[in-house]
């Protein structure tokens, strides 16, 4: 079963994503901030990470950049998520090392395609 780590500080967003992805057959792990996300990436070894960008403690951009610098977890694909993203936000996330990008509220079919594409890569 594909294991996805959702790093999201908003409880409602976390609940919604995990509920919908669980029903699609994914195993879900949760983290509430960038720092916890990094440590969950190391300990949980997920197949993919959905990373919110506006996170407390350590923001999503920093967490993504750090993950990509760490050889232990740099191979885990990261999809950046942010609310109503502008082109600049998208570029900022990709510059930080994110493998792909999606906006919140997520369009599930679109996100599922991106998840599958990232995992296949």
């Amino acid at each position: 079963m594909t294991k996805i780590l959702i790093v999201e500080d908003n409880e409602m967003n976390r609940d919604m994503l995990s509920r919908r992805l669980t029903r699609k057959g994914y195993e879900i792990e949760l983290a509430e901030d960038g720092e916890a996300g990094l440590s969950a990436m190391k300990s949980g070894n997920p197949d993919l990470v959905l990373m919110d960008m506006g996170l407390p403690v350590m923001d999503g951009w920093t967490a993504t950049a750090e993950a990509k610098r760490d050889p232990e977890i740099s191979n885990i694909p990261i999809i950046a998520l942010t609310a109503h993203a502008l082109e600049a936000d998208k570029q900022k996330a990709l510059d930080a090392g994110a493998d792909d990008f999606d906006t919140k509220p997520v369009n599930l079919p679109g996100l599922l395609e991106k998840i599958e594409a990232c995992i296949k890569k």
Binding site: D15, M16, R20, V106
Partner: protein
């Protein structure tokens, strides 16, 4: 021996409640025994037996003597029936009659005292409660009366028991003052400590259905109140057994204490930081003027109620489709119960996207018209759906410079909240007495919480030199906040706010050419707001009213905590006001169904309409099949993802 007996008597008389009764019975027996001594002084002599009151029924033995003696103790009139008896017998009879009067007096005294004690107990509020399924209000403060008024709006009016350390006479006076509003509510005020197990037992806590734990004190502006609340939360913990199903909601004054309070309650009850909620609401009012009134409409239970309902749902049915076809309710979210660490947890999600595929065990969060049944509407064929303006292109409220007029202890939260709502620098000017020291203490207090997005500039301002405000360039601010200031005992907070508002009105009148910023005000009392029908006031939050609405809702519906937090906090979902033109062509009448679809296209849910020209300026939960003629300035109230610029 004597000393030992004396000591035992002392112990018994001072520690045992039954002592007075034992003493009285002993005295009666002693007097009767002494009276029986008359038998040795000619009680049954021939001359004595001629008297009417001396009987010889059982041969003049113990029983006859006991009867004679007791008769004199209990009936003073019996002495007259001894006429003709020997003098010593008469003296015994006289002694018994006099002692009988003393004993009768003592018995009457006991009865009167006992009645008086019961009355005093009720008056002082120290009676024990014999009640079931009641609502207990632990603590009394300036929100208590508004909360009681909110409870009146519920279909099932609860029986309310109040336990407070505040002088019960003051509580009664306040209740009496509002009696014409509260007459249909049964309220029992009791005096006691909300953090004493004995007093909690006295209010029949285990049998209650709801507990509202408030900061206990008239003004509730003291951090010590939080300590008492936290102690009470700890006392409530051992009660949490499977059969303990009481809804508990607690109030914390200072958000800094929220963490400790949550630890004390082991995260099982909604705990509300009143300063935090008011700060969040003030900032939202600044972002969307008119918000306070929308909030009152939305969260008052008079016309609409937010509920979680179960409908027969097919697996895979889309949220957006269902939302368009339920009449008398606006679907705003989804909820379900899930297992977490072995415990049931209710998950709630607001504003899911219209393509959210529902599961059969999903429940729906709805704004429902009070007293109306839900019904499914037939399928609607959309005709004129205009493509909505994308939310990222909306002109969203922008606050870069704010003026705060207050020295209230809660302005730190307002500043923090302003910072969280912006991705760019916000310059805040703090105008109050001892401004530099206040600003410095706020900066220290919130050092870890204030983001780099906020700069704080002190400006000296007080009521003695109120005109000092004139030298500030008010038009340079995006918003002016007047937060209720309870820091000065000599000035009533609302009076101070009114004085500042009068000054601002004067300044506005003098500077007609400049663009005056919106003025957002916190009042403590609804009556203060009633005084203002003036355009200087852009929006006002009556904090006691707002919080009472919040507490009354939460104590009945704990799931609402997450909804309140989500709607008020920075990030996530918020209640926004959008021009109708963004969704439809308003030159002609618009079908509401078309508006719903336009909003769904950009992941928004319409929960209401504001039309200044209408007899109902704010309409929450509009009928789905309504047709509206909109005008410029009319707005849609939507649930939407928050946008920052």
């Amino acid at each position: 021996m004597f000393n030992r007996a004396k000591y035992l008597f002392f112990r018994f008389s001072t520690t045992k409640q039954i002592f007075p009764f034992v003493f009285l019975v002993s005295l009666v027996l002693l007097v009767i025994s002494i009276g029986m001594g008359a038998v040795f002084f000619g009680l049954y002599s021939d001359s004595a037996l001629e008297a009417e009151g001396i009987d010889l029924l059982y041969g003049g033995g113990l029983i006859d003597t006991f009867w004679w003696s007791m008769k004199h103790v209990l009936d003073p009139g019996a002495l007259s029936e001894n006429y003709g008896a020997p003098i010593p017998v008469l003296l015994f009879g006289l002694f018994n009659s006099l002692m009988g009067l003393v004993i009768t007096g003592a018995v009457i005294g006991f009865i009167v005292n006992s009645i008086q004690r019961t009355i005093d107990k009720a008056k002082s509020g120290s009676a024990a409660v014999v009640e079931n399924s009641h609502l207990i209000m632990l603590g009394w403060n300036n929100k208590s009366i508004p909360i009681l008024k909110q409870l009146l709006k519920f279909k099932e009016k609860p029986k309310v028991v109040i336990l407070t350390s505040v002088d019960i006479k003051l509580v009664r006076i306040e209740l009496k003052r509002e009696s014409r509003f509260l007459k249909s509510l049964s309220v029992l005020p009791l005096h006691g400590s909300i953090s004493l197990p004995g007093d909690l037992y006295r209010v029949a806590l285990k049998k209650a259905s709801h507990v509202l734990l408030l900061a206990d004190g008239i003004d509730s502006d003291n951090l010590l109140y939080d300590v008492t609340t936290i102690k009470t939360l700890m006392l409530l913990n051992p009660l949490k057994k499977p059969n303990f199903t009481v809804n508990i909601v607690a109030e914390i004054i200072n958000i800094e204490n929220l963490y400790i309070a949550n630890a004390a309650s082991k995260l099982n009850h909604p705990i509300i930081s009143s300063s935090d909620f008011i700060s969040k609401t003030l900032v939202q009012c600044a972002r969307y003027p008119g918000y306070a009134q929308i909030y009152s409409e939305l969260f008052s239970t008079e016309k609409n109620e937010i509920e979680i309902i179960s409908l027969p749902i097919e697996d895979g049915e889309l949220f957006g489709d269902l939302a368009r076809h339920i009449e008398n309710a606006t679907l705003i979210g989804v909820s379900w119960i899930e297992k977490k660490n072995g415990l049931d947890r209710r998950a709630t999600v607001l504003n899911p996207d219209p393509n959210y595929d529902l599961a059969s065990d999903d429940e729906l969060i709805v704004i429902r018209s009070s007293g109306k049944n839900l019904k499914r509407l037939p399928n609607f064929s959309s005709t004129k759906i205009r493509e909505s303006v994308h939310p990222s292109l909306f002109k969203t409220p922008s606050i870069r410079r704010a003026l705060i007029l207050s020295k209230s202890s809660s302005i730190g939260f307002t500043i923090k909240e302003l910072g969280q709502h912006s991705s760019e620098l916000i310059e805040i000017t703090l105008a109050c007495p001892e401004a530099a020291a206040t600003a410095s203490s706020i900066q220290d207090e919130l050092k870890s919480n204030i983001t780099g997005n906020v700069s704080l500039e002190p400006y000296e301002f007080n009521f003695k030199s109120i005109s000092s405000l004139e030298s500030l360039r008010l038009d340079s601010f995006d918003v002016i906040f007047i937060v209720a200031d309870e820091s000065d005992d000599k000035i009533d907070a609302d009076d101070g706010t009114i004085m500042i508002l009068l000054l601002l009105r004067e300044l506005k009148a003098r500077t007609k050419d400049i663009q005056f910023p919106p003025v957002i005000v916190e009042f403590l009392n609804n009556r203060s707001l009633d005084l203002w029908h003036d355009e200087i006031l852009t929006d006002a939050v009556v904090s006691t009213e707002f919080l009472s609405m919040l507490f009354a809702q939460l104590v009945k519906k704990p799931f609402m905590e997450k909804i309140f937090k989500e709607l008020l906090s920075a990030g996530g979902i918020e209640v926004s006001l959008r021009p109708v033109e963004n969704y439809a062509d308003i030159t002609e009448a618009v079908e509401f169904q078309n508006l719903i679809l336009s909003a769904q296209n950009i992941n928004e849910i319409i929960i209401g309409i504001t039309q200044e020209s209408s007899s109902t300026p704010i309409l929450i939960n509009p009928p789905k099949n309504g047709i509206y003629q909109f005008f410029h300035g009319d707005k849609l109230i939507v649930l939407a993802e928050q946008i920052y610029n």
